[in-house]
């Protein structure tokens, strides 16, 4: 394995993040903190507890998930699309690297950023609401798996996109609505029966539910199912990335 290449890509990507620290870290942390202020402290104080957890604390896992999902997709898709757009990706294609090394470098860096953002949001949330973390290792496992899975998804999006518009279409028109409807701000048990069933078709329900379980041991679906769907999504994305490099889809003519 070409570990030097993994290190080179990873460092270059992390350096890019630190060059744009306001956009990469401060902006998502600030916008998520506003949710805590508005939905947690201001409106949340007038909403009843959900499954024995104050509303402000209840939304914390969902907000962390929402943030890392959108940031993972955005960071990873941009990391691949930008060098494709400027033409600098030729260097990666001509280097003695396999898709695994390329993926570890680009996706590893993007996932690191997401995990940093998720951790900062978690720490910030503690200033606004009282949070329990019943299963910290399970929370960390979900954080890492979901960050990697969505970074891989972003990587695929960045390869598929042939214009800047396509880069934003999927996060804005697909991921954001699914996150809002996936139980970030409510438990799906609060919905009418028919909508509960429809919500179960949304894969993000399982991810958010699993992560919330690691905090409060409350979940809309079983933790095993959440974990299985998270790992399944990760594997599907991994296979797609492998296929992209094997066939050269949109990266090698």
């Amino acid at each position: 394995m070409n570990l030097q290449a993994v290190k080179a890509i990873y460092r270059a990507e992390m350096a890019r993040m630190f060059r744009t620290v306001v956009q990469s870290i401060i902006a998502p942390v600030l916008s998520t903190s506003l949710y805590f202020v508005i939905f947690g402290s201001a409106i949340g104080s007038r909403i009843a507890e959900i499954d024995g957890v104050s509303y402000g604390a209840f939304i914390v896992p969902g907000l962390i998930m929402m943030s890392i999902m959108t940031e993972s997709i955005s960071n990873s898709s941009f990391a691949i699309y930008f060098p494709r757009f400027t033409g600098t990706f030729y260097e990666v294609l001509s280097a003695p690297v396999s898709y695994i090394e390329v993926m570890l470098g680009f996706v590893g860096a993007a996932a690191t950023k997401s995990i940093i953002i998720g951790s900062i949001i978690f720490i910030t949330a503690n200033f606004f609401v009282s949070i329990e973390l019943a299963h910290p290792f399970v929370a960390l496992l979900f954080l890492v798996l979901i960050s990697f899975a969505f970074c891989l998804f972003g990587f695929i999006l960045g390869v598929w996109a042939d214009g800047w518009e396509k880069l934003t279409i999927v996060p804005v028109l697909v991921i954001m609505p699914l996150t809002f409807l996936g139980g970030t701000f409510y438990s799906i048990s609060m919905l009418p029966a028919i909508w509960q069933k429809i919500s179960l078709l949304n894969p993000l329900v399982y991810l958010i539910s699993g992560f919330r379980w690691s905090f409060y041991e409350n979940a809309d679906v079983s933790i095993a199912l959440s974990l299985a769907i998270t790992v399944g999504f990760l594997l599907i994305c991994l296979l797609l990335v492998r296929w992209i490099f094997k066939t050269g889809y949109r990266i090698r003519t």
């Binding site: 070409n2 030097q4 290449a5 290190k7 080179a8 890509i9 460092r11 270059a12 350096a15 890019r16 060059r19 060098p83 400027t86 033409g87 600098t88 030729y90 260097e91 990666v92 294609l93 001509s94 280097a95 003695p96 690297v97 396999s98 050269g248 090698r252 003519t253």
Partner: protein, 308 residues
């Protein structure tokens, strides 16, 4: 010398149906400087991009140092460097960081002494901390050369390396290539500046319409295909070639003030002595004469204009 690059029946047909390369066969010897000449769209960049792993071949095979470029891509790509035709650089990275990045990408551990020497040889050391966005086009081209050489390649592709750069950089480039040749690096160069190929190349290949139409040692090529012309400045203008000189196929130029004789450098007898005698006999007198040899550019234009 042994072949560092061997290309066998390499064909590339793009998704749209355009065939850019048609069964290319080519061997490049270790340590040589090979100039690949061809008009726009001839297939030069496609050929380079396939060897470097940027474009997938449709059929055929290529081997770098005996390693198949597809099945043994790690071994083959590790010793190949590429200076692309365009200027694709990370505008916001510094010169030193982007060059170190390239070295790492090719699996080499950091070597600050080598990188310093490389940047100094390309007059980039003073700009090592500058962001690439702040550099001129010529300096960006130097950065691309530094990136391509950062991992100490044995085979270097220079795809139009001096397109749009100033005379100083072109001279620097020639110096770098000479120094690489001394170090045993094989260089494959595509260029529109045929004087560049004439100056640097050991062998010349001409590609046209996706086919290699000629591969020849430069000196031999110029001897075999080169023509010489002798121009006589006449004392009195002529309106037509005088009788008795038909066999020399002379041409009148400059409104009859010059007589031009074209002869091959490849033949033992040029016919000049006989022509001078015939001119005297025909009463044609001249005040001066000059000779000129066709350049590689003229040979190249002649080759690519030939009907297939």
């Amino acid at each position: 010398m042994s072949a560092i690059l061997s290309i066998q029946d390499l064909t590339k047909t793009y998704a749209g149906g355009f065939t850019a390369l048609k069964k290319i066969n080519l061997e490049i010897q270790r340590g040589e400087i090979f100039a690949l000449l061809g008009p726009n769209g001839a297939g030069k960049t496609t050929l380079i991009n396939i060897i470097c792993g940027i474009v997938n071949p449709t059929s055929g095979a290529a081997f770098v140092n005996g390693h198949n470029i597809v099945s043994e891509f790690r071994a083959s790509r590790a010793i190949v460097g590429l200076v692309p035709q365009e200027l694709p650089v990370d505008a916001f990275a510094s010169v030193l960081k982007t060059v170190n990045y390239s070295r790492g990408l090719f699996g080499k551990s950091a070597n600050p002494d080598y990188i310093e020497k490389l940047l100094r040889s390309l007059s980039l050391w003073d700009k090592k901390d500058a962001r690439i966005i702040e550099l001129s086009g010529g300096m960006k081209r130097r950065v691309l050369i530094a990136k391509a050489l950062s991992h100490e390649p044995e085979l270097l592709f220079l795809d139009e390396p001096t397109a749009g750069v100033d005379v100083e950089l072109r001279q620097d480039m020639w110096n770098v290539v000479s120094s690489l040749k001394k170090d045993g690096v094989t260089v494959i160069l595509t260029t529109h500046y045929i004087e560049e190929a004439e100056e640097m190349a050991d062998r010349v290949g001409v590609i046209n319409g996706g086919e290699i139409i000629l591969v020849q040692e430069k000196a031999r090529l110029m001897q075999e295909l080169g023509r010489k012309q002798m121009t006589l400045n006449l004392i009195e203008n002529l309106s037509e070639i005088p009788p008795g000189l038909e066999e020399y196929e002379l041409e009148l130029a400059n409104h009859g003030a010059e007589l031009v004789y074209t002869y091959s450098t490849n033949e033992n007898r040029t016919g000049i002595t006989a022509l001078l005698g015939a001119l005297q006999k025909a009463g044609v007198h001249f005040s001066d004469l000059t000779t000129s040899q066709s350049s590689l550019e003229e040979i190249f234009v002649d080759l690519v204009k030939r009907p297939a």
